[in-house]
């Protein structure tokens, strides 16, 4: 288990508390490790107007060389770095980010965590992720607000019932705790649902009681703080402009902050994976499209679980702030605008008003889009590449957030050992072999 507070590292912090202004360049004082977050710390800081809090992560200039470079400081990249250090002792690591850490899809998703997947490889990695979420707040000493409130996927056709019964049977053998529940149980768990919809009455649901949600930004921030605490360098505003190779082997990267050498390179950049692959001289089966979400204005608690309704294409949960968090559909065309087409919002809201009639008089507060990277079978790639010592983790499509710790865990293992059982089936060569991991087969389930 993680002992973030006990990891001894040597790094430099500024004296920002003196001026109340952080200064990323000042190098005045050396301390062994970061102060732990706790109720005690809160009281202590409250008493002195919070002037004693340290930077959650430092902001160093890049070194000349690292054992490993991770490109992309989203959730998956930061988690990869974290497990490289924690599980494999590789701590001379840089995480390069062209924007701000956690500024991509990590902070744009609807925060659903579940592992009730049909296919064995998916169930394995998503359940690894889910189990790591259970202890993440303690492991990172950062409250990521993992809330195992339960996730249900409604069955509204006979076909869906069969699909979810199949998933339930598969889950039973995979060690994923799910059950197929009755409409009455659905209604008990979700009083605001209309189970007698004239068009699509609820016929049951696949229920994963230990699925739930977490605070998305906190996952990135918590990992970043823990990585920084291990002595890793998180270098923001640093774009990779080239992949340097010696023959078939990677030796470093060129960046907007200069060339940096590395033994191993992990590319974890979601929609931009194709650009990095292109720099390294290979192709990926990836397309980038916009996926949208929206929230309502906050209201008092009325729904304690996450509900996904795939027949009508909509899913919804209620955040701790009280907003109804709603996921919409993905566009069918390539797009890098982080805006989507409005008809997906309309279709999703239409579906949810039918399923939860009371939301009709709520108001949409905000809608936004993210760019998701889709593979040919809509399952991710965690793989070696044609370039030796270069590894790729991408293609999480619409389902990346829930996988973050599992994805980082497997990617770190693959980078450290060259093999990872969790990643085995997610090789980039599966498309050529015709060996797909197709999750849509159960009941057209969106991730």
């Amino acid at each position: 288990m993680s002992q973030v507070g006990c990891v001894v590292t040597h790094w430099i912090v500024g004296n920002e508390q003196d001026k109340g202004i952080p200064n990323t360049q000042s190098k005045n004082r050396i301390r062994n490790h970061m102060r732990r977050y706790s109720a005690f710390a809160i009281v202590r800081e409250g008493a002195r107007y919070h002037t004693g809090w340290e930077r959650a992560w430092k902001s160093p200039a890049p070194k000349k060389r690292y054992d490993a470079i991770i490109v992309g400081a989203g959730g998956h990249g930061l988690a990869t770095a974290y497990y490289l250090g924690k599980n494999h002792g590789i701590k001379n690591v840089a995480i390069l980010e062209k924007g701000w850490l956690g500024g991509g899809n990590t902070g744009r998703n609807t925060t659903i965590i579940r592992s009730n997947y049909l296919q064995d490889p998916s169930a394995a990695i998503y359940d690894k992720a889910r189990s790591l979420y259970e202890t993440m707040s303690q492991d990172l000493n950062y409250n990521v607000m993992f809330s195992p409130r339960g996730v249900m996927m409604l069955a509204q056709t006979e076909h869906e019932i069969r699909g979810y019964e199949r998933t339930a049977h598969a889950n039973a053998l995979q060690g994923v705790a799910t059950e197929f529940i009755s409409p009455q149980r659905v209604k008990e768990l979700v009083p605001i649902i209309n189970i007698h919809g004239p068009r699509y009455p609820v016929l049951g649901a696949l229920w994963q009681p230990r699925g739930g949600t977490a605070r998305h930004d906190a996952v990135a921030w918590g990992y970043a703080r823990a990585c920084s605490d291990m002595g890793m360098d998180i270098i923001q505003q640093c774009e990779v402009t080239g992949v340097r190779r010696d023959g078939d082997k990677v030796i470093g990267v060129d960046t907007t902050k200069g060339a940096i050498d590395c033994d191993k390179l992990g590319v974890v950049v979601a929609g931009h994976s194709g650009v990095l692959a292109d720099m390294a001289g290979f192709r990926l089966p990836i397309e980038s499209v916009a996926l949208q979400a929206l929230v309502s204005e906050p209201i008092k608690p009325c729904m304690d679980v996450v509900v996904m309704a795939n027949t009508v294409h909509g899913y919804m949960s209620q955040s701790d702030k009280g907003e109804m968090v709603i996921g919409g559909g993905a566009d069918g065309y390539n797009n890098y605008t982080q805006r989507g087409s409005f008809h997906h919002i309309e279709e999703t809201v239409r579906a949810l008003v039918e399923t939860f009639p009371m939301i009709s008089r709520l108001k949409m507060l905000r809608q936004w889009g993210g760019i998701v990277d889709m593979t040919g079978d809509r399952s991710p790639i965690i793989s070696k590449t044609p370039v030796e010592n270069m590894f790729i983790n991408c293609g999480w499509g619409t389902g990346g957030f829930k996988a973050i710790p599992g994805s980082g865990y497997a990617m770190a293992e693959l980078m450290a050992k060259g093999v990872s059982p969790l990643a085995d089936e997610f090789t980039m060569w599966r498309f050529g072999e015709g060996k797909f991991i197709d999750e849509s087969v159960a009941a057209g389930v969106a991730h």
């Binding site: 192709r283 797009n335 008809h343 498309f431």
Partner: protein, 109 residues
């Protein structure tokens, strides 16, 4: 919400009258082709930030497939043209060259 002109009926179509069909100008590889060619044909896709050629079908209208040249970052549409062709019309390529000097896409530029 894209607005594309169907080159067959001339109608200016809202995106919801159309269905998207992915990358255009893909050559089919059938029996006898190499594993690499076949994999690339089915799965490897251009994913540029910038000029892209893609397929659409006027599904709620005349039912015809057509191609569009579009920028994936600005969503500017350089033109639409009939699907029965192996490469974009010269006038569309010229128009793109005027607006995006030095562009290239696969073998087109």
């Amino acid at each position: 919400m894209l607005l594309l002109e169907c080159p067959y009926c001339g109608a200016k179509c809202e995106e919801t009258e159309l269905s998207p069909g992915g990358e255009a100008h893909i050559k089919r590889y059938g029996p006898g082709s190499s594993d690499e060619d076949f994999e690339a044909y089915l799965f490897m896709r251009e994913n540029p930030k910038g000029v892209h050629f893609e397929r659409w079908r006027h599904v709620y209208g005349c039912g015809k497939w057509f191609h569009a040249a579009r920028c994936t970052q600005s969503l500017e549409v350089f033109g639409t043209y009939a699907a029965q062709t192996f490469e974009p019309p010269q006038e569309i390529k010229d128009k793109i060259s005027g607006k995006r000097p030095g562009w290239s896409w696969r073998d087109f530029s």
